[in-house]
């Protein structure tokens, strides 16, 4: 009798489970982390899935150390969302990827403000959705800096003629390299380090967390340096097929990533702090303007000619920059 009762209770529990209101159960995310399952970003997403479970999303994550494969798998429908860099995913929606626009965010406080705006603004929410895709999270992975093998190169003019390693899929890179008169050398994340270290290129761009794993000190050792003017803000962005997720998921998710912004930034700041100070090349204030002008030219061209950047996003970023420092030359004119 006791056994029958146990079976009955188990059966009733099973019925109860089946009837529980689990909306859209069983989503999969392809998570790009260069360090794989042992990486910080995979771990962050692991934590994310736990809270998302309480919003009715039963998410499984799959690690990728190859961003291209993660992106392809997402587009082929092998997963319902993907964590990848904004630059990689720009073809799906150039509004969120414009947060990584060249020279548009000079410091992390502005980046944080922007991520908060994207998490809270209804207007932004509408633009983060394009077709079946929606961007539901931004993770800072550090400002990309220009690494040069010759530390005497610290002006825009001196970049002329240099061989610069650029990501093949980065639409902004050709315009930037053309503007400075450099020579583009195609690369991907894995080959940038070897090319820079072996002298195959004179310059490359990378955020600080890439410095140690790609051993960029080897390319800097013979008199190189890192120009301390953020070229762009690297972000990992979580993009999902919104119909696969429960109602209200997107907003909660963006807020979740905003609330974990500092945690991710800490990794970046530690990596920046770990780079020996001798390698940093400070740009004097009077020369910074020259870099800012070049960045502005490139952004406008990418907005108007190739349509790689979203004009509205650029406008909001300009407002944030000018709110923080109204003495910037660009604040007197309104090109964005």
């Amino acid at each position: 009798m006791k056994a029958v009762r146990t079976i009955l209770i188990a059966a009733l529990s099973a019925v109860g489970l089946a009837a529980a209101p689990v909306a859209n159960a069983g989503q999969t995310l392809c998570v790009y982390d260069p360090a794989g399952k042992a990486g910080n970003y995979y771990s962050l997403l692991n934590e994310f899935t736990l809270d998302a479970g309480t919003w009715g999303a039963e998410i499984e994550i799959k690690a990728y150390t190859d961003e291209q494969t993660a992106s392809k798998d997402y587009q082929a429908g092998a997963c319902d969302g993907v964590l990848a860099t904004g630059v990689r995913m720009q073809r799906l929606n150039n509004f969120p990827s414009t947060i990584e626009a060249i020279g548009a965010i000079p410091d992390y406080s502005i980046l944080k403000q922007m991520v908060k705006t994207l998490a809270t603004s209804d207007g932004a929410a509408a633009k983060l959705k394009k077709g079946e895709h929606e961007t539901v999270g931004f993770v800072p992975v550090g400002a990309a800096y220009l690494f040069v093998r010759d530390r005497n190169v610290d002006t825009v003019a001196e970049l002329g003629g240099l061989r610069i390693a650029t990501m093949d899929y980065d639409k902004a890179a050709p315009v930037l390299v053309e503007r400075v008169g450099g020579v583009m050398v195609g690369a991907d994340l894995g080959s940038i380090g070897p090319k820079f270290n072996n002298g195959g290129v004179d310059a490359c761009y990378m955020s600080a967390p890439g410095y140690a794993p790609f051993e960029l000190h080897r390319g800097l050792q013979s008199g190189g340096g890192i120009i301390k003017a953020p070229l762009a803000q690297g972000t990992l962005q979580l993009i999902v097929r919104h119909e696969k997720f429960p109602e209200g998921f997107s907003k909660k998710s963006r807020m979740w990533f905003y609330e974990h912004f500092d945690e991710s930034l800490e990794i970046v700041l530690k990596a920046e702090g770990d780079i020996p100070s001798k390698y940093w090349i400070d740009i004097p204030a009077e020369r910074q303007e020259e870099w800012d002008d070049m960045f502005l030219d490139v952004r406008v061209k990418l907005r108007d000619d190739t349509k790689a950047y979203d004009g509205q996003m650029l406008g909001v970023l300009r407002s944030l920059r000018c709110n923080k420092d109204s003495s910037r030359a660009e604040c007197a004119e309104k090109r964005e």
Binding site: S13, L17, V22, V31, K37, S43, D51, D66
Partner: protein, 341 residues
Amino acid sequence: MPPAMKRLALAFLLLLTSTGCPKAVDKITLNRVIDRGRQIEDLGQACALGSSFRHALDAAGTKKRPPHKALIVAETTSGLCSQLDAWDAELAEARVRSNPASDPVAKANAIRDARVELGRANTLAAARFYRAWQHMEPAFGEIGGNKCPRIKKRDEVAYLLGMVSGMLAMLHDGAGGGNVAVPLDTLAIVSRASSCLDDADWWNTPRSLELAQWATIPGSGPEGVDAWAELELSAAAGDLSGVRVARALQILVAANSGRSDVVTSGIEAHVKSIEATPRDNDWALLDEYATRISGQQADLIWTEARGYRSATFGELPKEPEPVEENNDPDPFGEADPFGGE
């Protein structure tokens, strides 16, 4: 006490009487302790030995000149203890995760708790393996530089264990949240430095260590080299030796990179190799270790799919075949097939 263990105990007695002479301690460890210990396939004994003798070995040298090579061996084998704990914690976490969620908040908390346990075990494993790695430069000189250090034949095993420890230190530290702060260029250094050993002598393990970095970071290897294909070739060559460390490394790297296809095919190849090639009893310890690495991944696959492990190594969970529809008359239907009323 089995004869091999008796010989080990004797070797350690010798060690303890060599106090103050790090070179002698290194020599005895590599000549006698490794020579005997490598034949014992009981990982628990090896790890217990490393853990308990680590301090004794340290004390057998001087503060300025500890027996670095002996300590590489001791720290690596003691790391094994924490690694076994980390594997158990990993399976425990997977079990909690695979439970259906009747209460999502309670489930999330249970997973978080399991992850704390896992993080602690990973951090301890990382610390031990990293200490082994840190003995490498004092023991051999610059590691991963333009030139290979001079490595005596006798010392090669310590060099190999140090390489494996460097890689494991990075993996466990990453999984543990980076508390040990193992430098992130360690895998790249291991990749370069491993080519200083001859593949033929070490069951293709050096080549697999070299390829680990290239496979993990696409594009980081030489142009035209398909690191995953090369890892398979290296593992297959290693399989023939009866010491399948290269196969285990392939599976480990694939698991970390999310290449479940490579993990699955690697496990299957490992099982076939065990059937086809007997274990090299001279290196039973390392072959057993390799089997445990692959077995851990097989256990994880089972636990994620079913919530429990398989008792048989290498058997992977499969979807049950659909039962064909039965068109025969129902013997329990209304008409009595036995002709009763």
